[in-house]
Symmetry: none
Subunit: 210 residues, 4 copies
Amino acid sequence: MKGNAKEAIVRASINLFNVNGFHGTSIRDIAKKAKVNPANIAYYFDNKHGLLEHCFTIFFERYVEEIENGYGFIEQGAAISLKKIVENIMIFQFENTHLTRLILREISLDTQIVREIMSTYLMKERYYINRVIEKGIRAEEFRHTSPDYITLQLKGLLHMPFLNTHYMNEVLHVRPNEKYFVEKYIREIYKWIDGVLCQSEYNKAYVAVN
Amino acid sequence: MKGNAKEAIVRASINLFNVNGFHGTSIRDIAKKAKVNPANIAYYFDNKHGLLEHCFTIFFERYVEEIENGYGFIEQGAAISLKKIVENIMIFQFENTHLTRLILREISLDTQIVREIMSTYLMKERYYINRVIEKGIRAEEFRHTSPDYITLQLKGLLHMPFLNTHYMNEVLHVRPNEKYFVEKYIREIYKWIDGVLCQSEYNKAYVAVN
Amino acid sequence: MKGNAKEAIVRASINLFNVNGFHGTSIRDIAKKAKVNPANIAYYFDNKHGLLEHCFTIFFERYVEEIENGYGFIEQGAAISLKKIVENIMIFQFENTHLTRLILREISLDTQIVREIMSTYLMKERYYINRVIEKGIRAEEFRHTSPDYITLQLKGLLHMPFLNTHYMNEVLHVRPNEKYFVEKYIREIYKWIDGVLCQSEYNKAYVAVN
Amino acid sequence: MKGNAKEAIVRASINLFNVNGFHGTSIRDIAKKAKVNPANIAYYFDNKHGLLEHCFTIFFERYVEEIENGYGFIEQGAAISLKKIVENIMIFQFENTHLTRLILREISLDTQIVREIMSTYLMKERYYINRVIEKGIRAEEFRHTSPDYITLQLKGLLHMPFLNTHYMNEVLHVRPNEKYFVEKYIREIYKWIDGVLCQSEYNKAYVAVN
DNA sequence: TATGAATGAGTTTTCATTCAT
DNA sequence: GATGAATGAAAACTCATTCAT
């Protein structure tokens, strides 16, 4: 693999980290899968950790971007904006299932990188979601609730399907990598927004899943 | 550490697997923390994997038990039974945060043990939850929805706080290891049951968090 | 396995040493096969080496005895005595194929025990065979040849089938553990004695196989 | 030891396997003797077994070659061809006493490699020897006998001196690593061919030891 | 006489990393 | 840029042995 070594390494590492976990994957495994010399990984990413950091970065750069894009709809109403955020994240995760799963797992560890990610990207995530919720409460779109508890639930709903791909395939027989699934699941989260978050008889507008 | 080596090993390993992950923890680390000779781990659990398997077993034996206990309330209504299940699992997880987190992370990997766990314990979990939901639908307590999608959301809500302890502490400043949190969070899930799952103006009975 | 532990250990160890070699067999393997506690082996034989020594002893005590018995026929002629020795050793080895193979292999190593065995039992073996051959030469039964070269060839003929049991089974399809084989093979060695060792037209008396 | 690590490892391992047996030799011993880093062994041979496999291969490749060369003389008569085979093997073994002994010992175990060796190299060996013997019988050079029993005896005669080097040195005081020994011992096997295998008054042609 | 627990030393193996080319 | 060789450190695991009971 001449020429596009760097990209091949990233692809291979996402795949293997996803399957075996970061610690369970050796640099040689990655090199072999990427058809690249192991020394190349040090060359491009300094060391194995650098590779993981890179994965974190490419994930969260886009992740936050998707949230920001959804937040852009805030003027059209909190519920609409929140739904847009949900839709964007779901589609993004759906298009990057391997990377997503690896990130969701690895972020549950207590490491240096994770702390850094939290103090940057996840702080931003919280910021935007909080603003949407608070705006919704002020506008009496949403019930009066704690934004952090809402965020917590929202993240549970958003991430679980991608963390437990095997479970979905083998126990529930639901295929998270089919387009149909995302669309349906997005609508389920909308129901949660409408049924739990929104004032009883208020705005139940559905945003079409484009 | 003569006498209670086996138990000490389990305690230490739950702790370390939780913090550093299974692969990130060495047998020596465990032995040192348990104040035990490393060879003892092989003696009691055959090898490192056996130790992880043991962790899985002690978790899921109790986990399924909690579900079964909640299922026992089925005669009092599907919503009540489901709420009881939620309450039981939440309290169980709250009392075993370390073990829970380690299991939730490790089960996202594609390994032999995980497949076995799925085909036994998680199949049971699905069975009970499905029965509750189907009963609720038949009794017109619940809206007509796909049980598997409900299960998926429910599991997202139930597990996420325990998988992402650091996130909760450092980003949301919510403490999942305080009693107050569980009580409140249980009520949040009840709201989801009432608002999303239940027929609009039907049974909104709250089961007191004992 | 109460009561007859010691014997069970010996049986198991002969079997396992034979299959996996001395170093390739662990004390636990032996204990498991003998259905005995590993500590028992230390109790009866001091340590693993003691067990091997025991095997050597039970083999060579009988081995030398068989030679001595054959040597007892010396008065009836050197060829007859030598044939009797051949017959005795072959039958003894045939009745103890496992033990024989293990000994033949292990004696090719350069260890303390082996040196001791050589300076006792194999010296005796040489002594008797030499005396038979020298007597045969003096009596003009045998051609004039170096006794040591004869011994060397004789041992090659006697031992090879038992060292290479697998080879015989899987390549030559000759079964060394069938009675028929020993009888025939003994007659082959007789031919060697008659054709190579004996004077051309002299005594070709065949000793009937028992 | 930069530069020729691989070869140094092989040399050291032949030496040590020979003296202490495969299981009795540690990878560290080999690395120390070869003045090489232990990890290098894994690098070149995957693992300890790979090293043994390599030893088997380099032995048997040459071994079969020597037989094939001797078989090339078949047109000049079966006895001549067989004697050439004997001579070739003896000289080859004499020039590789360490390797030979190690192979002869290790092949008496029941392992995967051994089975593979048998189904390839030793099958070939049998094939060539059988053809020579059958040809000899048809041409009435040889007595009518079972080729497999002949092969068995022949192998006993050929290999024993190299398997039991210590025995020869310390009991028989015959030095198998002196040129004189091989020459004499080859002639002894010729006698066996002439006296046991050949028709009484037929071809007793001696093939000069090169 | 027999055993289960425990251990220390040693084994093979893995791995991230370095470096000369 | 890219590579194959080489390595030190550490990993998991094995094992003979000891010992209190």
